[in-house]
């Protein structure tokens, strides 16, 4: 055991170290996913049994259902979350801080997974690259789960002559599909790409708070069984927005949903803190804001929106849980509660959230375009302005989801105004994309081909959003399948396909292998074709007057639903092919070189696999990003005609 005046070699200099307590890593050497599972299951069982014993046998809830299943399930969930996190070692850091046993460099290296091999993916590892890969796995699991539920939904809607599932089960699968997809889409870029790539892209060794990084991931892992288990406790039997008071009529499964959100909100909150501080304070020397890649802006913006908005959603679920367990009446109108309170709290997150999904996906694409068109990003300042505009307006539009609730008819006017206004900064991002494609010679690799799918879907989603933003038109469209088709075009058509492009792009850096682009392309385009069929037909169903969240309907809607279901199966096949491409490439793909796409961005200047400390020497940035392209051949013509007056600036000036 070394004395307090020992030093260690930290990236080249000798730095005094605190006392080393035991081996590097201390108790963390013994903690991993298995101990987490043991801790979670043990505490869940104990909590469940104790609660069962303590609950009086005749106890009933406010809605006259037996209370014991509620209390026991809640206790099990709480026990699971706390026990799992304890077993993973999440509390070790705070306790060591409390006791004044600060970690040494050797501890930090152990925590970062140095020399641990594959085991580091199963531990509370702080290395942002490990966390990025862990997020990628979680994303595939969660989106896969949501996708499976989608197939069940479309099967029910396609079988128009019978009920495949009972109405209550159907109501559960639509709600669970919705929330699983929302969670998956929030993290699909912010998880793998923001964690793995962004620190390297800005020339840092890790994130600002590495242990918070591991915490955010493992909180997500803890939350996932809460959601899946809800299906086995009667399901949520409500839409993903779990409006009150319908939610309070639901079986105990609703508690699973609430716990999922409460835990997930901590996960994203902590991740937001980490991302924002990292991008604000850890950019490389010389990386001024005008030299910062656009992906960093996009990720920062999403983190900021998530930071201020997610607590509203979290509290809406805490209040709902309180209504259920303690018989408070936040949302029970009989006793002074208001359904509009729930809706406002929910949509205060619900709207910024869609930008949390879309902005990172758009930012990844703006990162990809210059590499494959070998052209600078068009009007970087405009891209930043678009992102800033969206963030600024994102908190001012939420009540366009509530036009038809009657809560405050007079405010429909200002919300219509702000909602129409937000189309302008979003349009800036489209301009930047097509401006980058303009006159560009495209290298037709999979990551960039996704842009065509994304922009196509984004235009359709955007225009249909304009209809919905108009209050009178919303009087027809709200609550119909038109809305469902619109948001699938935005979140899935633009968001998911963009994320797929991003994953395809960064795959080689993250996994060390090349993605099989042929299989990936077949998967992506199959899914794209299926997507148009499914949701194009769904627009028709909505226009015809089909409400949403119904499992049986007028025969007028039969044809549109049959077509949508066929399209959905095609999407399923396409997505499975894409997933298969990812998995098989990950396991058997050709080993990747360090910069297969010739990118000039910092993250591609590292070797693959990226070493633990990212950079042997921290880089210094001297140039603007996206330094591609040749001088414009039309420049001579312009110069000749214009004389001294030159409004089209070319070359690498801004």
């Amino acid at each position: 055991m070394s004395t307090a005046t020992a030093t260690a070699n930290v990236f080249g200099s000798e730095v005094p170290q605190p006392a080393q307590h035991g081996q590097p890593g201390g108790i963390m050497r013994r903690l991993n996913f298995v101990t987490g599972l043991i801790g979670g299951l043990a505490l869940a069982t104990i909590a469940g049994v104790v609660t069962n014993i303590l609950t009086p046998s005749g106890a009933s809830t406010a809605t006259f259902a037996p209370a014991a299943p509620d209390y026991v399930y809640l206790a099990v969930l709480l026990g699971w979350v706390i026990g799992f996190m304890a077993g993973m070692g999440a509390f070790v850091g705070p306790i060591r801080w409390l006791l004044g046993r600060d970690i040494t460099h050797a501890d930090a290296e152990y925590l970062a997974g140095k020399d641990l091999g594959w085991k580091r993916y199963w531990k509370f590892t702080t290395d942002h690259k490990v966390v990025g890969v862990q997020y990628l796995i979680m994303v595939m699991i969660i989106l896969g789960f949501g996708g499976l539920l989608a197939m069940l939904i479309r099967t029910e809607l396609g079988v128009t002559w019978a009920e495949v599932f009972s109405p209550s089960f159907y109501n559960s699968i639509i709600g669970t599909h919705g929330i699983a997809m929302i969670i998956g889409m929030i993290i699909v870029v912010m998880g793998p790409i923001a964690n793995f790539i962004v620190p390297i892209m800005i020339g840092a060794r890790d994130m600002a708070f590495p242990r918070l990084n591991a915490l955010s991931l493992w909180l997500l892992v803890a939350a996932t069984p809460c959601l899946i288990s809800s299906l086995f406790q009667g399901g949520v039997q409500d839409g993903w927005s779990v409006y009150q008071p319908l939610a309070s009529q639901g079986p105990p499964g609703m508690l699973g949903y609430q716990m999922t959100i409460i835990v997930f909100a901590f996960s994203t909150g902590v991740a937001s803190v980490n991302l924002m501080v990292t991008t604000l304070t850890m950019r490389a020397k010389g990386m001024t804001w005008s030299r910062t890649p656009i992906l960093v802006y996009g990720v920062f913006a999403a983190a900021l929106m998530g930071l201020y908005a997610f607590p509203f959603y979290q509290y809406s679920q805490i209040l709902a849980m309180s209504d259920r367990i303690f018989n408070t009446s936040f949302f029970d109108p009989l006793e002074g509660g208001s359904v509009w309170l729930y809706e406002n709290l929910f949509w205060l997150l619900g709207h910024p959230e869609v930008y949390v999904i879309i902005i990172p996906s758009a930012a990844v694409l703006m990162e990809i375009l210059p590499v494959f068109y070998r052209k600078p990003l068009f009007s970087f300042n405009f891209a930043v302005a678009g992102i800033v505009g969206v963030v600024a307006l994102s908190g001012l539009v939420w009540a366009h989801h509530m036009y038809m609730t009657g809560w405050a008819p007079a405010v429909n006017y200002p919300f219509m105004l702000s909602t129409e206004m937000i189309s302008i900064p979003v349009g800036f991002l489209v301009l930047v994309a097509i401006g980058t494609m303009w006159r560009g010679v495209v290298w037709t690799r999979l990551p960039v081909m996704a842009i065509y799918a994304v922009i196509f879907n984004k235009m359709i989603g955007g225009v249909t959003g304009i209809y919905l933003s108009d209050v009178p038109v919303d009087q027809y469209m709200h609550g119909s399948m038109f809305v469902v088709a619109h948001f699938h075009y935005m979140l899935m058509g633009a968001g998911l396909f963009g994320a797929m492009g991003g994953v395809a792009f960064y795959f080689s850096k993250m996994t060390g292998r090349m993605l099989d682009e042929r299989a990936g392309s077949i998967g992506l385009w199959t899914a794209f074709v299926g997507f148009q069929i499914t949701f194009g037909s769904m627009f028709v169903a909505g226009l015809q007057g089909q409400p949403r969240r119904v499992l049986q309907f007028d025969s007028l809607f039969n044809i549109s639903n049959w077509i949508s279901t066929i399209g959905a199966y095609i999407i399923g096949i396409g997505m499975l092919i894409f997933l298969g491409a990812i998995i098989s490439s990950w396991m058997y793909g050709e080993k990747a070189t360090s910069n297969p796409f010739g990118s000039k961005s910092l993250e591609w200047q590292t070797p693959t696999p990226v070493p633990l400390e990212n950079f042997a020497v921290l880089p210094v940035v001297t140039e603007k990003p996206y330094d591609y392209g040749v001088p414009d051949p039309y420049q001579k013509e312009l110069a000749a005609v214009d004389g001294d007056f030159d409004t089209q600036k070319v070359g690498s000036q801004s």
């Binding site: 010679v441 495209v442 009087q475 007028l556 796409f597 010739g598 005609v641």
Partner: protein, 289 residues
């Protein structure tokens, strides 16, 4: 930069511009001479025309069950038509760029990182300014259209119709709508409080709905009349419309309200005023208001 007075051959002599700058039309013509500029413009027009039928097709889809049956629904359809129409130019332009990017400008395939060939354009002030101007104008138009339209619809449905604009029978019909799992009940307070599970209305007579719920949130959607409002437990919301077409139409519940949400539908019967009055009398309701 030296000034070289180069004019393309064939151009007649033009008066000297006050500055050094060539006239704008000249620059536009120069730009149009580039093959891609013409190609994209042509594509924009072609795609635009291909998209044009949507304006009518969208309405056709909405009108399959007898819509429009009220001025509000006509307003909605007109808005859908106009919004589609004005969205087409920008949409067609963006699609044209996508198409031209694959068919017009060069593309390279293969595993080798290609040499840089694209012009290093970091910005284009004209393009940015035009895009901002056009999108802002469009947004402004949408906003103004929407605000005016909403004010009109509100004026005609929330109890503020000026007397001289009320058609014929000057007394509006009041219907209290109650949603509950999973049935709609309509009460006519002006007719001794008779209730019905089908919504009976009189043609050309304005009707004001007071809507509430007895349990969870439902949503009262009179589909072909273009009217929709949540039925909230603990609150009374209002909407209104003047049906102007006879026939049978649909009420659907548009907010998930539990197990049988899908079946929470009922019918609307819009009758001539005298038929409506006979119906009311048959149900036991003399007109009390």
């Amino acid at each position: 930069m030296t000034t070289t007075d180069i004019r393309p051959s064939g151009q007649p002599d033009e008066p000297e511009a006050p500055t050094n700058r060539p006239p704008s039309m000249h620059r536009v013509k120069m730009w149009l001479r580039r093959p891609y500029a013409r190609g994209i413009l042509v594509l924009t027009v072609v795609i635009g025309f291909l998209l044009l039928p949507l304006c009518w097709l969208l309405l056709a889809a909405m009108n399959q069950t007898g819509a429009p049956a009220s001025p509000i629904m006509r307003d909605i359809e007109q808005t859908v038509f106009v919004f589609t129409l004005i969205s087409i130019p920008i949409t067609a332009f963006v699609f044209a760029v996508l198409v031209y990017s694959l068919l017009g400008w060069k593309h390279i395939s293969g595993d080798e990182v290609p040499a840089d060939q694209s012009p290093a354009i970091r910005s284009n002030t004209i393009g940015v300014v035009m895009w901002t101007a056009v999108s802002s104008l469009l947004a402004f138009f949408l906003v103004v259209w929407g605000l005016v339209e909403l004010a009109q619809i509100t004026a005609n449905s929330y109890g503020t119709i000026p007397a001289d604009e009320q058609p014929g029978d000057s007394q509006a019909l009041i219907v209290n709508v109650t949603g509950q799992q999973w049935v709609w009940t309509f009460e006519y307070p002006q007719y001794d409080g008779i209730t019905s599970e089908t919504l009976y209305l009189a043609k050309d007579r304005p009707v004001y709905f007071n809507v509430t719920s007895k349990d969870v949130i439902h949503n009262f959607w009179a589909v072909e009349l273009g009217v929709k409002i949540d039925a909230n437990p603990g609150a009374i919301t209002q909407t209104g419309v003047t049906p102007d077409k006879l026939g049978n139409f649909n009420v659907r519940c548009a907010e998930l309200c539990g197990m049988h949400h899908a079946y929470m539908e009922t019918g609307i019967q819009v009758l001539e005023k005298k038929d409506f009055n006979s119906w009311a009398r048959e149900m036991g309701g003399g007109k009390t208001a």
